[in-house]
Symmetry: C2
Subunit: 238 residues, 2 copies
Amino acid sequence: MRAPYGLNILDNCLTCAVREEHLFCNLSVAAGQRLNEIKSTAVYPKGAMLFIEGQQPRGVFVLCAGKAKLSTSSREGKTIITKISDSGDILGLNAVISSRPYEVTAEMMEPGQANFIPRESLLQFLRDHGEVALRVAEQLSRNYYTAYEEIRTLGLSTSPSEKFAKLLLSWSTKTAQTDGTSQVKLTLTHEEIAEIIGTTRETVSRLFSEFKKKQLLQLKGSTLVIRNRVALEKIVQS
Amino acid sequence: MRAPYGLNILDNCLTCAVREEHLFCNLSVAAGQRLNEIKSTAVYPKGAMLFIEGQQPRGVFVLCAGKAKLSTSSREGKTIITKISDSGDILGLNAVISSRPYEVTAEMMEPGQANFIPRESLLQFLRDHGEVALRVAEQLSRNYYTAYEEIRTLGLSTSPSEKFAKLLLSWSTKTAQTDGTSQVKLTLTHEEIAEIIGTTRETVSRLFSEFKKKQLLQLKGSTLVIRNRVALEKIVQS
DNA sequence: ACGCGTTCGTGACGGCGATCACACCGCGAA
DNA sequence: TTCGCGGTGTGATCGCCGTCACGAACGCGT
């Protein structure tokens, strides 16, 4: 099966296949069935905006394939990226639950696919299935934790090098080797990295140079090799 | 009735008396009754720690009287204050729901009183009353919003003056007059203000001087007079 | 191959705010 | 009164990083 934007449609995009601990998994039969009725699947090209900061919440998106970047920006155009979401993530949940505007913009970074659940359907679904509401609360509190982590990064570590080291470590944990090295496919531009750690493109460039010189990392084509985790951890809490 | 720490005990500290829109208000009779059984009231002196960042969650605190400051700090001792809570606020909810350690430290800034609901009791209560779980979810998503607001402040506005102006405005909204002025009782030290906006005590001192000179504010004893809201708003988004 | 746009590297400069240092003030305790 | 102490004002210094500027490198379509 062939979709637009050169992407294969996933015949049955069950989020459970992606994440066992997922919000909408292991539901009662009735709930699962109902969920299937109210969701709809769509395919998005690179650059597509799932929703934009400030819009009234239309519903939530469950990402099945592709990555999306969540960002906020100020009036003068300065932008910060708060999260890179990938398969299994639920986008827009906070806005829908609290009936406030989306607090971020969600933009596809590569072609992808997502399930959409309209706002009203979801709320009614939760009212009908109290047990799921509690799991939604759990999911929200997890979101809160990552937001808080962000606050700590922005508020407590002032220097760009510290934040850069933190970011590298967060990437590295996913593919850690026993010898302390790890490899990551680098899909972000320096500009985007700058928006994540709240600095400028130039500084990110200089940080790469500096960290290469210090043997903390290495670049092989577009794969980033992190060579010394302990040294990075030392920078973080320096 | 007289409590320790020179505080009058509130005979019946119903949070509903404080806030109509409150989480635990307008419950079904059964739920309300049950809630009354599992809660317990205590009085705290100034400086008391309700809970400390990193501790396993024991339960939630519903603040009835007094103010509490929520803060996080890094290993090297740098501290940021993320919120000043007052009557009606629920503290520790995120930690309890997600069963993760408290993400902040809650310290009483003045003598006060709070209801305590133990972790397990609350979770069981929510399992038994699905309709309340949804309201908890709403509360959590509101928390998320304020956290996000914090992220925007820290990440998007770089200069201390901008953040200071933002803080003043947030104070001012509560007591706004028609002529654009407002009065606030100033209970925080410069040091604490510095920890809120992520700068140093000295800079806060200089900001006060600067803003006084610009006729933006005025100090009468310990009451702060905000004289020009529009000018402050201009600084925020400059 | 050519040109064009995006991304990246790096130098020069300047300003802002962190840091240090010290004086001052108000207030409660001895 | 005289300490001591927590809070406050303010000058001097200095280093980091944001800004501007430019050129190189890479990918991409025609």
